[in-house]
Amino acid sequence: MSTPVITIIDYGVGNLLSVQRGFENCGARVVATSDSKTILNAERVVLPGVGAFPNAMAALKRLDLINTIQELEKSETPLLAICLGMQLLMDESEEFGLTSGLGLIPGRVVAVPSTTTSGKTQKIPHIGWNEVHPRHVSQIWNDSLLKGNTVGEAAYFVHSYMAQPSDLKNEIAFAIYGGHKISAVISKKNITGCQFHPEKSGMVGLKILRSFCYD
């Protein structure tokens, strides 16, 4: 089997090291770059991200990477977007006023509710391990990057905002926080977004990274 090459988009937002180490653990070779040509010619692309939505979009714009990432949809290059990266896939976000996103998966990013469904105050950010459940029948789970994982296993989340796909068929899995359903994995064609951190979710996360490398 040839060594998979994973191209991580380095746009100065967040720490790439853990993601890189995760993929290396799966036997992949990792290239971190902000070069548009390298990204367009990549075999597989990862969009990481930590921090605030408007800053991240501004950084992508500054590096002239917005079109580049949008091109990946047409070229059908597998794209995995992690945490804030997943939120960037959406049309827009309400974080610090309305900001446009990449528009690759229809829907909006909204704040994680600060009260539970029964009206109690809950802690924000949503931080820690939470169970990941399939939104649809098991076949869709099995066709996604989650396929190596048992339904209901936990992954590590850290976020204050959450993606709400307008078409539920793009939501593969969710977690429950204070009674609210929170998108955990979203997907459309060659593009997958993970709200939790696969590189920090132990074996559960490594299996996702491995699926991304070898499928």
């Binding site: 720490n15 090291l17 853990s18 180490r21 995760g22 290396e24 653990n25 930590v50 921090g51 105050t121 802690k123 924000i124 950010p125 931080i127 820690g128 391990w129 939470n130 169970e131 209901g152 296993e153 936990a154 590590y156 850290v158 590189e199 920090k200 979710s201 132990g202 996360g205 490594l206």
Partner: protein
Amino acid sequence: MGSPNEYALDYYKQGADELIYMDVVASLYGRNHLGEIIKNAAKDIFIPMTVGGGIRSIEDVREILRLGADKVAINTAAVANSKIITDVARQFGSQCMVASIEAKKKEGEHWEVYTDNGRERTGIDVVEWAKKCVMNGAGEILLTSVDREGTRTGFDIELVKAVSSEVNVPVIASGGMGKPEDLLPVVLEGGADAVAMADILHYKRTDVGNVRAIALDAGIGVRRYEHTSHYNN
């Protein structure tokens, strides 16, 4: 006792949810020695890692995050200048800014903030300080009872309750875990969002799987993890 990385890898395999690395003498010598350890740990440990002890500046934080840490725990430097909490939260996000608070009991339901690993008193009230840390941008509180640490007599439940009821960020209870069951009251009555364990694991009085099983039995929502415990209840 042995290499920190061997212990870390073992706890990762046992199913720990997170690892906390504390350089307990760092403040004394004014620097943190954990960089190399973290760099190595990041190669084969894929759960969140928090590093504390001797972190004094934004540069220290940047360096330790660059080496693979996800969060920093800051105590002494924050007491000296609380602006560091805001600076870290602004630059790297609240999610990586853990306020480490060392608390020692005073008269009544009051606790005093200590620094330098429980050696120096500050005169600051713990609950007020915790609120201030959160207001300044701390995303979590690592709350250590100086009185209970090393005693194996259980957590200071009143302390945890006093803090967790006043702040809207996760509180990690630390100090005093003697047996796995000590986890129950500090979570159920104290409102701790997580518990930190050290010597109970280092000296193999129990393992992570056994603690997890006891928590699950009590209906505490910890993650399920495939692990066969070496210890039976």
